[in-house]
């Protein structure tokens, strides 16, 4: 595997327009997206209705946000299994905070705290993950396994396993608010993606992160603060997961610690891989991850809208993951 000097997004490579197999495989994500869209326009009833678009945007947002964070972690050659559990933790904390007597006495401060504190807790989880991986040299799968298991446990202990329902329009804006008719979280995804893309393309940290993923030893020898960069990736991923947890809770106006972010790690990894992230690290196609998230969401929606059972949708998702990685693998050889 070679070190990438530029963050290459699969869509932005300037290639001569020659229609051949390599072309399809390079832009596999885009081709897949177009195929799904065409299929839906022809088959799925009411697919072109604006409501369909809004539903899909509001649902894809959480996958996309987590997938962006996951992309950074995978780009360092790691993986983060704890994203779903961290979502559950932050999603359980927020309602606990804004339904507390203190927050009801000071609504504005309570609202601010209910957003800031869960995200701070999520960031702390990220520091923990990152420190285990980089300082103690624990393999990322094992290191993030700790929070995968105990994070949701902590969330359940905090809420005693109860479903917390609430009415808090200000907080729910995170998940149900609209700007110019489009869901608020859709804008949030674009802003986050743009910021992270900018960081990866134009900042020292971004370049160092890709260098670490490309060849950790070489990066270390050339003076990259490998440990700090890795911790940074896990912290960003955890922070974004925390935010995604808040959005899920805001969409539902309810928080069930057992369900928030369940299996999200799989969706996020799948989105990142479909978007062209190499599992070996060294590449961070941020917009590719968004594309991957959109494809995963659309496949789910397509199957659901056409009355295919949930469980078959799982098998379809499995097929997509294998196909995406296989195409990626074939391209490399």
């Amino acid at each position: 595997m070679t070190m990438q000097n530029k963050p290459v997004t699969s869509a932005s490579e300037p290639t001569a327009f020659k229609f051949e197999w390599s072309m399809i495989s390079r832009h596999g994500g885009v081709v897949a997206l177009i195929a799904i869209l065409l299929f839906n326009i022809l088959i799925t009833p009411n697919f072109l209705h604006p409501q369909t678009l809004f539903v899909n945007i509001s649902q894809v947002a959480t996958i996309a946000i987590v997938a962006v964070g996951m992309t950074l972690v995978i780009a360092t050659g790691g993986i983060d299994l704890s994203v779903g559990a961290i979502m559950a933790l932050s999603g359980a904390l927020a309602p606990l905070i804004f339904t507390s007597p203190f927050a009801e006495a000071n609504p504005e401060l309570g609202l601010a705290l209910s957003i800031v504190v869960p995200i701070l807790v999520a960031l702390a989880c990220g520091v923990f993950n990152g420190a285990l991986v980089s300082l103690l040299n624990v393999q990322p799968i094992v290191a993030t396994l700790i929070f995968f298991i105990s994070g949701r446990g902590i969330a359940l202990v905090l809420t005693n396993g109860n479903l917390q329902t609430f009415t808090n329009p200000a907080f729910s804006y995170l998940g149900t608010g609209k700007i110019l008719g489009f869901p608020f979280q859709g804008y949030l995804v674009l802003i986050i993606a743009a910021c992270v893309w900018w960081v990866m393309a134009f900042t020292v940290f971004g370049r160092q992160l890709l260098a670490v993923g490309g060849n950790e030893r070489a990066a270390e020898l050339s003076g990259v603060p490998v440990k700090r960069v890795k911790i940074g990736a896990y912290v960003i991923c955890a922070g974004l997961s925390g935010l995604a947890g808040l959005i899920v809770v805001a969409i539902n106006s309810a928080s069930d610690a057992a369900r928030i972010g369940n299996l999200m790690e799989l969706d996020a990894i799948a989105a990142a891989v479909v978007g062209g992230t190499l599992l070996q690290g060294g590449r961070a196609p941020i917009f590719g991850a968004i594309l991957g998230a959109v494809i995963i969401q659309l496949v789910k929606y397509t199957l659901l809208a056409n009355g295919v059972a949930d469980e078959v949708a799982l098998i379809a998702k499995a097929g997509i993951i294998v196909l995406a990685v296989y195409v990626q693998q074939a391209r490399k050889e």
Binding site: I79, L81, L132, L136, N137, V138, Q139, I141, V142, A143, L145, I146, F147, F148, I149, S150, G151, R152, G153, I154, L156, V157, N160, G161, L266, I269, A270, V273, L279, A309, D310, E311, V312, A313, L314, I315, K317, A318, G319, I321, V322, V325, Y326, Q329
Partner: protein, 331 residues
């Protein structure tokens, strides 16, 4: 780390100084339990403890093989759920059909994993992630998302209830046989040595002329078969095929393997220490239940997840210390 070819206890322990900790902790916990709780050493507790943990032990042992090659198998939990449904459907024909049927279903899914990893060269993490989703979907499809009750009139129920030779439940006997068989395979056959060599260095193993492909196919098929066996135990233990069970089992199994001192990078590992790791994780809950039973503290089921995570953390920190001091000498 191929120096454990002959079974020499002293060398065995020294060569696996990663797994020394798990034995010490396990014995300490058992002694603690025996001293503190009246019924801890009773035959009922021992038998039900082993009966319940049999499926986790079998899965962890299969996982250990995959991890020793430097791979991973995330599909085991879903495979167990799938084969528990298969076993429940086959239970009217008796255990002589249900057991091979469930194991064969597991072996088949393991073969799919092997195909993805070895032929299509998809990274194990992703390949088995896909079969995890696929097997889960498959389990829900064939069961109609319902638990499938086993046939109580057939001899299938003997598996968990009746005792072999009047001493231990069949589940435990079968588990012991599987563990022993796999221990022999790893420690006494060239195939087992090849598995370890692959984890130590795949390219080097190929250059040495070892049959790497065969060994890699073996570990995934084996892990699938072990998961299939666990599914059988699941169906017999709960009296039904459980398409929704098995979530997070792969992680418990990985935890058992890691606690047993096997490094996820592959190249070294021990079947016995993995069994000890699985027993240790199970024992933590057993002791927690006893502690709850005394009424001094009362921890909800949710605390178990937190404690399991904290426990894993402690073991990992301990291990990384050992590993870093061992590696200083090795490299």
């Amino acid at each position: 780390m191929l120096d454990t070819t002959a079974f020499d206890l002293r060398r065995y322990i020294q060569g696996n100084n990663h797994s020394l900790g798990v034995w010490i902790t396990l014995i300490a916990l058992i002694v603690f339990g025996l001293l503190r709780y009246e019924n801890f050493g009773g035959s009922y507790n021992i038998s039900s403890f082993l009966n319940y943990n049999a499926m986790f032990i079998v899965i962890a042992v299969g996982m250990c093989f995959v991890i020793m090659t430097g791979g991973i198998d995330l599909s085991v939990g879903s495979v167990a759920a799938f084969t528990s449904v298969v076993a429940a459907y086959l239970s009217p024909y008796g255990i002589q059909v249900a057991l091979p049927g469930a194991v064969a279903a597991g072996l088949a899914i393991g073969a799919i994993n092997a195909f993805f990893v070895v032929v299509m060269r998809i990274p194990p993490f992703i390949a088995t992630l896909a079969t995890m989703l696929g097997a889960k979907g498959g389990a829900l499809v064939i069961s109609g998302a319902q638990t499938i009750s086993i046939d109580w009139s057939s001899n299938f129920t003997k598996l968990g209830l009746e005792k072999a030779f009047g001493i231990l439940p069949w589940t435990i006997v079968i588990t012991a046989l599987v563990v022993f068989g796999l221990w022999v395979l790893l420690e006494k056959t060239s195939l087992g040595r090849t598995v370890l060599a692959i984890g130590g260095g795949e390219d080097a193993s190929i250059m040495m002329g070892l049959n790497v492909t065969r060994a890699k196919v073996l570990v995934y098929v084996l892990s699938g078969g072990c998961a299939g066996m666990a599914g059988l135990f699941l169906a017999s233990g709960f009296g039904a095929g459980q398409p929704l069970e098995g979530i997070g089992w792969e992680l418990s199994a990985i935890a058992s393997v890691v606690v047993g001192g096997t490094l996820l990078t592959g190249g070294m590992g021990s079947i016995t220490a993995t069994v000890a790791g699985a027993l240790l994780l199970g024992l933590v809950f057993n002791i927690l239940n006893f502690e709850n039973g005394r009424g001094v503290i009362s921890l909800s089921a949710y605390w178990q997840m937190v404690i399991r995570g904290a426990f894993l953390f402690v073991v990992i920190v301990f291990q990384s210390r050992v590993a870093s001091s061992a590696q200083k000498g090795a490299i």
